[in-house]
Every structure is written in C-alpha cells, then in structure tokens.
C-alpha cells in the first residue's frame, strides 16, 4: 500500500511525534558536552542540569530585591500585556474588519490603508509609538496592537467576504435588517475565523511583546531575557525560551479547544493541522 494511504496507529503516531523533540534534546546535550570539554565554564550551551537548576531557582526562590518569585511575576506581567494587547487587537479586528468586509463603501475607503499599515514593520516606528503612548504599559500593549491588528483586520474582513452571497441574500429574503444580518449571520459565521486570526496573530504578538519588554520595562519574560543576555546567561535564557514556547502552545491549544466547543458546526469538515 502506498505510504500516503497508510495512517500510523495512535501509538506509533505519538512515538513519531516525540522523535524530533528527543533528537533536538540529544543534539543539544552532545553539543553542550563537547563545548564544555573545551571550556568547562562555557556559558553558551550550559549543561541540561545547569539549565534545570537555573529554572528551578527562577521558579521557586523569591528574588531578594523584590520578594517575588521571578518566573511567576514575569509570566504574569507578560501574559497581562499580551492578553490586553490581543484583546484590543481582536476588538479592532472585529469592528474594523467586519465593517470592511460587510460594507462596500468602507471597504473601498479602508482596505488599501489597512493593507499598507499591515506592511509597515512596527519596530521601525517604535520611537514614534513610544512618544505617542509613553513608555509605560500602554506603549508595550500598543506595539502588540499595532503589530497584529492590521493583519487580523484583513483576515476578519476576508472571512466576512467569504460568506457566500447566497447566505446574505437568504437572510434578506427572511426579512433581516442590516443590523440583524450583522448580528445573526455575519458575526456568528466569522467567529471561528476570528479565533483562527487570533491564533495566527499570537505568533507575532509574542515577538512584539518581547521586543517591547526589551526596550522599556522592569519585568516580564522579555525583560528577563534581555537583562541576562548581556552576561550570556543561557542557563536562564534557554528555559525561558522553552517556557515562552510552552505558554504559546498552551494558549494556542486552549483557543483551538474553545473554538471546537463553541463552534462545532465549523469543525465538521476536513482535518486541521
């Protein structure tokens, strides 16, 4: 039987999924081992046990200065910023995106502008953002918003435009007002696309969060990485990176599960990655 027609069993699938992770870990351990043969104090690729120690320290011991357990306070601060930023971006995406997708005049007016905005690399206008929004929490949140909202707006607008015309027509023949079409036909149907847009938007959002925290902050996961980077403390950086990735993964899966629960009709079709 062709390989494309064969499906691995559950167990084999789980085993295969683990392989690349295990491979990466082993490759790291070997590389680290050989670097430390040369220079036992090598900071670039510390041993796995050093990393575990550092992580444990960050995760359990209170910082002398602030009395906080750094990992948790950093995580909390970063997630708060990420959540607020993505919340705002989502709100914008729904309002502006639906308007663009639903109303041809607004589409003509705003679509090119949003397209242009989405192509501006936000880090180039950082100084302007900082001046406009100050250096407090607001500017970090705004960097996330500015970085993710235009693309999310476009996805939502596209989702609205992808609703078959037939359905809009049908709603009109059922006596719906424009407002009712919005609330009963358009919004419910784009919600799954919105969740997808949020999931896709979270990838750059993390990057912007970390960039913002590296520039002006006194807490957060990105700040910590930035702070210890000048000493090349990879034993702190690496577990932080893994931790960030894990958080991102969990957020992503939670959104997916939410979407499955809330919009079962959307997930009746083909397989999703």
């Amino acid at each position: 039987m062709r390989i494309i027609n064969r499906k691995p069993s559950r167990r084999l699938g789980a085993f295969l999924a683990m392989l690349p992770f295990a491979g990466l870990l082993i490759a790291y351990a070997v590389a680290s081992h050989y670097r430390r043969l040369d220079n036992p104090a090598d900071k670039l690729l510390p041993s796995l046990s050093d990393i575990a120690d550092a992580f444990l320290r960050m995760a359990t011991q209170a910082d002398k200065r602030t009395g906080d357990i750094l990992l948790w306070s950093d995580t909390f601060d970063s997630l708060w910023r990420l959540g607020t930023g993505m919340g705002l971006a989502t709100l914008l995406a729904v309002c502006v995106g639906v308007a663009i997708g639903f109303i041809p005049h607004i589409r003509s007016g705003l679509a090119p502008f949003v397209a242009a905005l989405s192509l501006i690399p936000p880090i180039t206008v950082l100084p302007i953002l900082f001046i406009m929004f100050g250096l407090g929490e607001l500017s970090k949140i705004m960097l996330i918003v500015v970085g993710t909202a235009p693309v999310m707006i476009r996805s939502v607008a596209q989702a609205v435009m992808d609703i078959p015309t037939e359905m809009m027509i049908k709603a009109q023949t059922l006596g719906a007002s424009t407002w009712q079409m919005l609330t009963r036909v358009v919004l419910p149907q784009i919600l799954p696309a919105l969740i997808t847009a949020i999931r896709l938007g979270l990838v750059p959002a993390w990057i912007f969060l970390i960039s913002a925290e590296a520039i002006a902050s006194t807490s957060g996961l990105g700040y910590r990485i930035f702070l210890v980077r000048r000493y090349l403390a990879m034993d702190v950086i690496l577990p932080y990176v893994v931790w960030i990735t894990l958080l991102a993964l969990i957020l992503d899966k939670l959104l997916l599960i939410f979407s499955r629960r809330a919009f079962p009709w959307h997930h009746l079709g083909g397989e999703r990655l």
Binding site: A171, Q172, T173, W265
Partner: protein
C-alpha cells in the same frame, strides 16, 4: 387578480463583462402562475432568477412587480431556494427555521429567548415533521446529507409565505419519494397562498407536472467563433393546461432536446 401582471419583464438583457448571457427577454406573468424554467446548462436560468430576486441589476430592460419597478434589493416577499449554500451553517436545523420569526419579533437582538424561543420552536415542529427532519432537529447542516439540507432550505424559504417564490433546481438532490412529497407540499402552499412561482429544473417531467407554464431558455443565434457574443432568450413559452396533462412524451423529448443541444451545435457532431 387585477389586470396588472404580477411580474412583467421587458427587453431584459444581462451581460457579465463581454459575455452576453440573456438578451431581449420579455414576458408577463400573472399572479398565481407556476412557471417552470428549462434550458441547457449554463444558458442563464439561474441568472434570470437572480435578476427577479434583485440580487443583480439587469444590464438593460426593466422588471416590474405588481406594476411597480422591482425593489432594488431582495425583500421578504420573494423567497429563494438556491442550488447550494441555502441554509445557515452555524445554526441547527431548528434554529434555521425559527430565524425568520426571530428577525420579525426581535428587531434589535434578532434573537428570541426562553419562552418566546420555545414558542417559536413549537411553531416549526409541524414543518419539521412534514419534511422528515424532526429527528435531526438539533443537527447542524454539515451533519445532514445533501438531500436533507435541501429539504431544510425549501422549508426555510416557505416560512415567510412569499408572494413570489424562486426555486433553482431545488429538488435536484432529492430522492424520488421525498421529491414527490415535496411536490405535494409545494403545490399545496402555492394554491393556499396564490404564490407566483418560478422554478428552474432539469427534469422535464417535473416541469410538466408542476408548472402552469413552461419557459424554455435557448440561444437563437450562434457565432461559432465567439460563443459569448449572443445570449439566451425565451424560445418557447408554453401554457400547460392542468386538465390535459401529461403532454404526449414525443413532444416532451423534442423540447428536452431543444433545451440541451445548443452547446453541442457549436462544433460537435451528434453522438
């Protein structure tokens, strides 16, 4: 029934870009008529329905309803069943059916709650039974077979009791038993509400059985080098007298042939 025809079409022309789809169609349809539309695939029957629904604006000519120009956009007095995408995928069978009531009774939220919702559901229980979807009332359209979806779409379109009903091959995906049931429901409602019906079908037998008038769409002119240059028009407009039906099969086959040949005459030879 006044002297004014329900639908009056004059010199209707429709083109998409360079493609002329329909040309110089003129027809008067009195209230209560049941027009069945047949014609080769791709000749513009669906386009004609879209025009009647105001989903698109004609390139030329006028359409009048009750003597007044057609409203510029779809209205609840003209119901529609499309070939596909006719039901809302995010609503269960039951919720698809109470939607029209929700639009009417809840102008702001567009949504009924608690008791009002239960009442609305009660109202559609009978229809659900009638179209055989009662056991599937909680399912989403994607969980239904094509046939079941289409039955739901028909039920949904009839809910607002439109005065003009447009059907685009509504029974194409139905199996014969259900199809005959649907014919009955449709005819019952048509008589009851004196609806004016336009139905596109590929089944000539069906066209004869249900219609009071048969409209055959066809191109009258052809340019083999530019198949897009000419559009279709109504080549036959046959009143079907209820009492004389069914028509002799010989002429039936001939009509079917007329309706389907044009695309082959562009260069093919008879198979």
């Amino acid at each position: 029934m006044t002297g004014v025809p329900k639908i009056s079409v004059r010199d209707l022309t429709m083109r998409y870009g360079d493609t002329l789809v329909l040309e110089r169609i003129s027809i008067d349809v009195p209230e209560g008529a049941f027009c069945t539309l047949v014609g080769a695939s791709g000749c513009g029957k669906s386009t004609f329905l879209r025009l009647l629904l105001s989903q698109e604006r004609p390139s030329g000519g006028v359409i009048e309803m009750d003597g007044a120009p057609l409203p510029e956009e779809p209205t609840p007095d003209r119901g529609i069943v499309f070939q596909k995408y006719s039901v809302l995928p995010h609503l269960s069978v039951e919720d698809n059916l109470i939607l029209a009531a929700e639009f009417e009774r809840a102008p702001v939220t567009g949504r009924l709650f608690a008791g009002a919702r239960r009442d609305a559901r009660q109202d559609v229980a009978e229809i659900l039974e009638r179209i055989g979807l009662a056991p599937a009332r909680k399912r989403y359209p994607a969980q239904l077979s094509g046939g079941m979806q289409q039955r739901l779409a028909i039920a949904q379109a009839l809910l607002k009791r439109p005065t003009v009903l447009l059907l685009d091959e509504p029974f194409g995906a139905l199996d014969p038993g259900i199809r005959i049931d649907m014919h009955e429901i449709l005819q019952e409602l048509w008589r009851e509400m004196s609806m004016t019906v336009f139905m596109v079908t590929h089944d000539i037998q069906e066209a004869f059985k249900l219609g009071t008038r048969l409209l055959v769409f066809d191109k009258v002119r052809h340019d083999p080098h530019a198949p897009e240059a000419y559009g279709a028009t109504i080549t036959y407009d046959i009143p079907l007298d209820r009492n004389q039906k069914p028509q002799p099969p010989a002429s039936l086959e001939e009509l079917a042939g007329a309706a389907s040949k044009p695309e082959k005459s562009l260069g093919g030879h008879p198979a």
